[in-house]
Symmetry: C2
Subunit: 228 residues, 2 copies
């Protein structure tokens, strides 16, 4: 229903279908060579500046992608959940990781080793095209995000973040994210975020229960976000 209110496609990377319905030989290659791993909430999957060892498929859990500023402050530019793949960009650009990925919850991953992944895109044209399509799509998402950061107020960005988070957490409108992470995602201070959330509560747009945000009136948030 929120889909009709909001151009969601422009806000999500939608890279969860790249490995779906691949030919049998590819699927079995992955099954054969993948390395399953588990990480606890708070642990880091990979660090900015390090050399990639492969591509991760997030089987369960949620992660944050962020880069770190001079003062050590995180800037979260994306949250990923089940079935999304992470860490493929720098493998394709042949660079070190441009960002850090850490777990918001306990997570399970399949690691597809670098050489397996690279041989897959050599041999499977379909997969290569899906990758290209996915990464090109992200370009538009980023242009959108930078514009929002540059032109919209904290209040507007906070409203927008809640709308996006509600979809992300897909759980009766319950959003469970620390104020610290949430503020890094919005691009503001913790205190400013808290005050804005307080306002939205006063206005009846959300409820706050033990730091969990429950969306009450999405339309009010859409209006506050100042789009459309």
């Amino acid at each position: 229903m929120i889909n009709t209110l909001f151009p969601c496609k422009r806000y999500s990377f939608a890279n969860d279908t790249i490995l779906v319905d691949l030919p049998n030989d590819m699927t079995s290659l992955i099954e054969e060579r993948k390395i399953s791993m588990k990480l606890k909430k708070g642990q880091v999957l990979f660090y900015e500046g390090t050399i990639p060892t492969g591509v991760y498929v997030l089987k369960t859990g949620k992660v944050k992608k962020y880069s770190t500023g001079l003062n050590g402050k995180e800037h979260i530019f994306y949250l990923a959940k089940e079935n999304e793949i992470v860490g493929h960009h720098c493998l394709l650009s042949k660079e070190t990781y441009a960002h850090t990925t850490a777990c918001l919850t306990d997570c399970e991953f399949d690691l597809i080793p670098k050489e397996v992944f690279l041989s897959m895109i050599e041999n499977d044209h379909e997969m290569l095209h899906r990758l290209l399509k996915s990464i090109s799509h992200e370009f538009g998402v980023f242009t959108n995000n930078t514009r929002i950061l540059a032109q919209h107020s904290v209040r507007e960005r906070t409203a927008l973040s809640i709308i996006k988070l509600e979809r992300f957490f897909d759980n009766d409108g319950c959003i469970k994210l620390s104020r610290k992470d949430h503020s890094s995602l919005v691009g503001t201070s913790i205190e400013s975020l808290v005050r804005t959330l307080h306002d939205f509560k006063e206005e009846g747009a959300i409820e706050l229960k033990e730091s969990i945000i429950i969306t009450k009136d999405i339309e009010k948030l859409v209006k506050a976000s100042n789009f459309m």
Copy 2:
């Protein structure tokens, strides 16, 4: 020399080598099918939301890429110059243009029609890989840019913009860009930009001659940008 002072790679898309040294059949295909065109300063190459007809190779001139906010305000997220290709993302993601591209100067383009471009990436693996590499690289550039917008002050971003613009205009430190465009690039108001430029002039970092910025002391700007 600025290269040693600054991690330039993290700020430029570097997509000017995708069509260089292609096999002869590709080069001749382009020569055969390309449509040459000229646009005057200020004219728009393509608009946000429209359907792509092909990929543009910028032969001479400079362009701005921007998306437009609700109030009509532009947000410039990238400047491109000679030899860069533009408009390929949405062709690859099979979407409409996510941004507008307009000429900062008189420009000459080669338009490679959509079907020609798509058949090229079908048939030339090397080119497909270069594209993938280029677009993946942009991902890191964007994460960097969003962090800067989220965490750095107008003064810091303005300093950074001048450092980047000096490279872009590659002309004895002469930067020719309207205050309006420059402020859209920095993500601030015209007045705030003007005041910050005034400060940098007072501090001896730049000179201002009839709205042209001449860089005097890059190290001061690097320091003001608050990196490294």
